[in-house]
């Protein structure tokens, strides 16, 4: 029976990756994905031959989904700002440097996806439902 031989001293373990940080980074893209996925399938269902029977109001749904998605994006953005303020420079050694890096990423991503979520929402509400163009 062979034994696994140690070769080097280990560095002490560091703080675990926080879920808050990952929410800051992934919250807005996640919210957008849900908006796109749900919106696409609602349109498919509402505009199908059976759609009339189900009585899906695309505009109403779009407003609700867009509002929720935008809320998530705003929250993720604010958390990113908070994290960025708390954790100094991105050139610091990990984990502080990595947190600052990901927080900077979170701020950018949240802004971008907020714009996208609102554009999509406004666009969908503007149009006549199921009309071809």
């Amino acid at each position: 029976m062979r034994i696994a031989k140690p070769i080097l001293e280990r560095i002490p373990p560091e703080s675990p990756v926080s879920p808050v940080l990952w929410f800051a980074v992934l919250g807005a893209p996640g919210a957008y994905s849900v908006q796109l996925g749900l919106g696409y399938w609602l349109t498919e269902a509402a505009c199908s031959p059976t759609g009339g029977r189900w009585g899906i109001s695309l505009s109403a749904w779009a407003i609700v989904i867009t509002a929720l998605a935008a809320l998530v994006a705003v929250a993720a953005g604010l958390i990113s700002i908070w994290l960025y303020r708390r954790h100094g420079d991105r050139h610091d050694p990990p984990p502080a440097g990595r947190v600052a890096f990901l927080a900077a990423v979170g701020m950018t991503v949240s802004t971008l996806f907020l714009v996208l979520i609102l554009m999509t929402g406004v666009g969908v509400v503007t149009f006549r439902e199921c009309n071809q163009s």
């Binding site: 029976m1 062979r2 034994i3 696994a4 031989k5 140690p6 070769i7 080097l8 001293e9 280990r10 373990p13 399938w41 498919e44 269902a45 199908s48 031959p49 059976t50 759609g51």
Partner: protein
């Protein structure tokens, strides 16, 4: 916890368990398996999306007067498959704790039930084939395509089980423990897809 192990050299329950405890993040094999499952899961998502896409093209579903699927048996079978998640989980836990023998027996139990599930499923599918064929229309096609691809995944899982049973009978190594963990993750995934597939297929009757 104070040294970096040469983990691949670990053989026998004690050292394997020690390496497993010392490891701070998942091993490469685990990542590989998770990514493979991610891509397979996307494949199932695409197939299920296809099902509903076809469904939304028409007023009548199932198409062409095919009977709505019966609910009870498929749900019972799926429940059986999902139940094998428990022995798989326990098998991994036993192996991690250095109890290779109980891990082997738990794996065998899971394999036996999974094989039975596949047998029953194929029996059910043959029954269905008597009432409608995949060539009948788009409903039949997507129905059998979903089922067939799910069955293929179960069959691959059984092949992995067989290989592991053979390997683990000859003792445990770090490599085999990782393989067992991967097999368990794979079966969790297959169980999840089984639920997704069966709910999709029973959708007209629900």
């Amino acid at each position: 916890m104070s040294s970096i192990p040469r983990s691949m050299e670990a053989a026998g329950s004690g050292p394997v368990a020690a390496v497993e405890r010392a490891r701070r993040t998942q091993p490469s094999g685990w990542w590989g398996a998770v990514l493979l499952i991610a891509t397979e899961a996307t494949l199932f998502a695409c197939l299920i999306a296809t099902y509903f896409y076809l469904r939304f093209r028409t007023d009548e579903w199932p198409l062409g007067g095919i009977e709505k699927p019966s609910v009870t048996l498929p749900l019972v079978f799926t429940a059986i498959l999902v139940a094998t998640v428990v022995p798989m989980f326990l098998s991994v836990r036993a192996a991690k704790a250095g109890k290779t023998r109980s891990a082997w027996w738990l794996l065998l139990l899971a394999t036996a039930v999974q094989a039975t599930y596949l047998g029953l499923q194929i029996h059910l599918m043959v029954d269905d084939l008597h009432s409608f064929t995949p060539q009948a229309n788009a409903y039949g096609s997507i129905y059998y395509a979903l089922l067939g691809i799910h069955h293929a995944h179960v069959a691959v899982g059984l092949a992995i089980d067989a290989w592991l049973l053979w390997k683990l009978a000859r003792g445990i190594t770090n490599y085999r423990l990782i393989a067992l963990r991967i097999a368990a993750i794979y079966w969790y995934f297959v169980a999840a897809t089984a639920v997704a597939v069966v709910l999709t297929q029973l959708y007209p009757s629900l």
